[in-house]
Symmetry: C2
Subunit: 385 residues, 2 copies
C-alpha cells in the first residue's frame, strides 16, 4: 500500500425527502446564491422544494450553468455574488453545476485573474465561500470531493483544480431527484462513475487489498444495476445504489494508497473541448482501447479485474484479458453509449489537432507509469476510430 | 437502502514514518497532554519519535490508561489538563487510549458530574478539546470515529458515548508501530475488527449493495491476512492492510444506510466488566452462537455471507449456514482466541449475574429486530459455555 492522506469533511444527507433538511444545514442568516443548470430543477419541482426548505432566508438564483461549465458563464455568477454581498452558495444540479459552484466559491476571493485558479491547479486558493449541494444527477462524485473541471470557451481549454477549501459543507443525496433524468444522462452517469473507478483501480498491484475490494465492489454494483436502471429509472433501490456508488467512486477513498491512471480522462477532456461530445461518451470510447493497448503494463490488474469483477476464470491470460475488455465495451454499449469515435463523426484527420491540444496542456506523459506519451495517445485515438 | 447521515472529518495520515508530520498537524502554540497506556510506547521508541516531532511545543504526559479505560483513571487526566491549562490532547496508543482521550476531551468542559456524559450517551456534549492520535494497535476503529466506551470500576459499568465534538482532528496510522505487538493483542485486533464488520453487515437485506460489497471486502481481507499476519507480524503489507481495514470497519461508512445488530458487543461488554476478559475474547465467544441461535431472522444474510465471504456454494441452506458459522469460529480459534466461556473458567452459575447486568443497563431488547431479550441472551450465553 502506498502512503496516503485521506480527508473528506463533507456531510452526506441521504434519502428521499431530505431536501427539507436544508433548514438545519444552511445558516439562518445566510445570503444565498442558488446555482442551477438548465430548466430541469425548475420544471420537476426540485427548485420549489429547495426554496421552500430555505424558508425566510434571502436567496437569489443563477441559472444556465452548462454541461462542461464555462469560465465565461461562471464569472457572471461571481459578479452577482460580489454585487449583492451573497455569502453562501447552494448548487442544485449535477457535476457541472457543482464543479461550477466550487469555482465561483474560490473565484470570489481571487486576488489575481480567476483563471489562474485553474492554471495553478488550485494551489493558491486560500479561501472560498461555504457551499452545499443538492445532487440531481449521480455521475461525477463532485458532491463529495474538492475537485472541479472548468472549460474556457474562448480558448477551448478544459482544466482542473482542487483545494482543501472547496469541499461541499454538505450534500443532499435524494435518489428520487434522478427519476426524471433523460436516458442519455443516466447512462452517462453510470459510465462516468465506472471509469472513475477504473482510473484508480486498473493500474498495477500495490498490495492495497482493501482498496481493490472496494473498487471491485463498486464496479460489480454498477454492472448489477446499470442495465436494469436504464429500464426502470424510477426504481428507488436502483437509483439509491447508483447515487451512493457514483459518490464513493470519486470521494478519495478508493484512490487512497494506490497509483492512479487518468490518461483516459485527459484524452477525453480534449475530445469534449474540441468536438463537444459528452464527457462520459469520451470515456466510453477511450477506456477500452486504452486498456487494450496497455495490456502488458496493466497485465496483473487486468487479470484480477477479469476474475473478480467479471468472473472470467477460463482461457489463456490473453483470452481472459480480451474478454474483460470486451465486456467493458459491451457494458457501455448496453447502456446506449457508442464506443467508437466514428459514431460521433470524428475521423483520422481529427487526431492531430487532439494531440496538439494534449501537448499544449503538457499532457505528454500520462498514466500511472508516465508511458502514455503522444505516440501512445495517437495509437489509442487511432484504435478508437 | 435506509436513509442515512455520513460525516467524518478525521484526517488520516497513513504510512511508515508519518509521525514526523505531527509538526504540521499540531498547532505551534499548543499546550499538549500526551496520553499513554502501558509502557510499550516508551519502550519501543514511539514516544521519543512523538516528542521529537513536537519539537519546542510544551507537552506533558499522562500514562497508565488501562485496557477498558476507566473513569477513575481518566478523571486524573482531566485534573491535569485543567490544573496546567493544557489545550490539545494527543493519544498515543490503541483504542483504549483513544477512547479515554475522547472522554477527557469532553469531560474538561462538563458542566455537571462527567459520568453524565456516558449516562446521556454524549448528547449533552457541546464542546471538547481538539485532539489527534498516533495509532499503535489496529483494532477498534476509534482513530476515525467519534465513539468511546468507558468503564467505571467502582460500579462495574461499561458504557458508551459519542458526540460530533469527539472526532479526532487527525490520526497517524503507521503500520510499523504494530510490529512489536504481543500476539494476543494482534489477534484481538483482528477479531475485534471482524466483529465490528459483522455487527453492521450480518442483519437483513435492505438493498444496500455497496455497503454489502464493502463489508464483504473487509471480511475477505481479514480472512486473507489474519493467519499470515500472526506468523509475520513485521510484514509491512500485512500490517498496513490490517490497519486500514480495522479503521474502515468502524468509521461509519459500512454502517451508513443499513440496520445494525450490536447484541454481541453488548453481551460481551458485561462479560468484560464482570470477569475481565479481553474485549475481543468476548466477541469471539458470543458471535458464533449469536449467529447460530438467530439463524432464522438472519437467514438471507447468512447465506450471502456463506457465498460471498467463504465461497460456500454447495449443500442445503442449513448446511451452508452451519459451515459459515463454523468457519467464523475456526477463524477466531486459528488466531489463538478461545471461543468458549469454559476456556476462561466461566460456567453456568455465572450466567445469571451477567443477565442481571444487562437488565440493569436496559439491554433487554437488543439486535436489529429487538429480538434479543433476556431469554435469548440467556440462550446465547448457555450455548457459549
Amino acid at each position: 500500500m502506498l502512503n496516503f492522506n485521506f480527508y473528506n469533511p463533507t456531510h452526506i444527507v441521504f434519502g428521499e425527502g431530505k431536501v427539507a433538511e436544508l433548514d438545519q444545514l444552511v445558516p439562518k442568516n445566510a445570503r444565498i446564491l442558488i446555482l442551477l443548470g438548465g430548466k430541469s430543477a425548475k420544471e420537476n419541482g426540485t427548485l420549489d422544494e429547495v426554496t421552500q426548505a430555505l424558508g425566510n432566508r434571502y436567496s437569489e438564483q443563477f441559472s444556465g450553468i452548462e454541461p462542461n461549465p464555462s469560465y465565461e458563464t461562471l464569472m457572471k455568477a461571481v459578479e452577482q455574488v460580489k454585487s449583492n454581498q451573497l455569502d453562501f452558495l447552494l448548487a442544485v444540479g449535477g457535476g457541472s453545476v457543482i464543479d461550477g459552484t466550487k469555482f465561483v466559491a474560490a473565484a470570489v476571493f481571487a486576488k489575481t485573474e480567476p483563471w489562474n485558479i485553474l492554471l495553478t491547479v488550485g494551489s493558491e486558493v486560500t479561501q472560498a465561500l461555504p457551499f452545499g449541494t443538492v445532487l440531481t444527477l449521480p455521475a461525477t462524485g463532485s458532491e463529495m470531493n474538492n475537485g472541479s473541471v472548468i472549460t474556457r470557451k474562448e480558448t477551448h481549454d478544459k482544466l482542473y483544480f482542487k483545494s482543501k477549501q472547496t469541499f461541499p459543507q454538505f450534500s443532499i443525496l435524494d435518489p428520487t431527484k434522478s427519476y426524471s433524468l433523460p436516458p442519455r444522462q443516466l447512462a452517462n452517469g453510470i459510465a462516468d462513475a465506472y471509469t472513475h473507478i477504473m482510473e484508480q483501480y486498473l493500474t498495477y498491484p500495490t498490495n492495497a487489498l482493501v482498496q481493490d475490494r472496494f473498487a471491485e465492489g463498486l464496479l460489480q454494483t454498477l454492472i448489477e444495476i446499470g442495465p436494469s436502471l436504464m429500464e426502470n429509472p424510477r426504481d428507488y433501490d436502483l437509483q439509491s445504489n447508483l447515487m451512493w456508488t457514483a459518490t464513493l467512486a470519486l470521494n478519495g477513498l478508493i484512490g487512497a494508497g494506490v497509483p492512479h491512471d487518468w490518461a483516459t480522462h485527459m484524452i477525453g477532456h480534449e475530445i469534449t473541448a474540441l468536438h463537444g461530445l459528452d464527457h462520459a461518451q469520451t470515456l466510453a470510447i477511450i477506456l477500452p482501447t486504452m486498456l487494450d493497448l496497455r495490456r502488458e503494463e496493466k497485465r496483473e490488474k487486468l487479470l484480477q479485474y477479469a476474475d473478480r469483477v467479471w468472473n472470467i476464470n477460463t482461457g489463456t491470460d490473453a483470452q481472459r484479458i480480451n474478454m474483460a475488455i470486451n465486456n467493458t465495451r459491451n457494458f457501455f454499449e448496453q447502456l446506449g453509449i457508442k464506443t467508437r469515435l466514428s459514431a460521433y463523426n470524428i475521423d483520422s484527420k481529427d487526431i492531430q489537432p487532439l494531440l496538439d491540444r494534449l501537448e499544449a496542456h503538457g499532457m505528454v506523459t500520462l498514466g500511472e507509469h508516465d508511458t502514455v506519451n503522444l505516440t501512445m495517445s495517437r495509437k489509442v485515438l487511432e484504435a478508437s476510430l
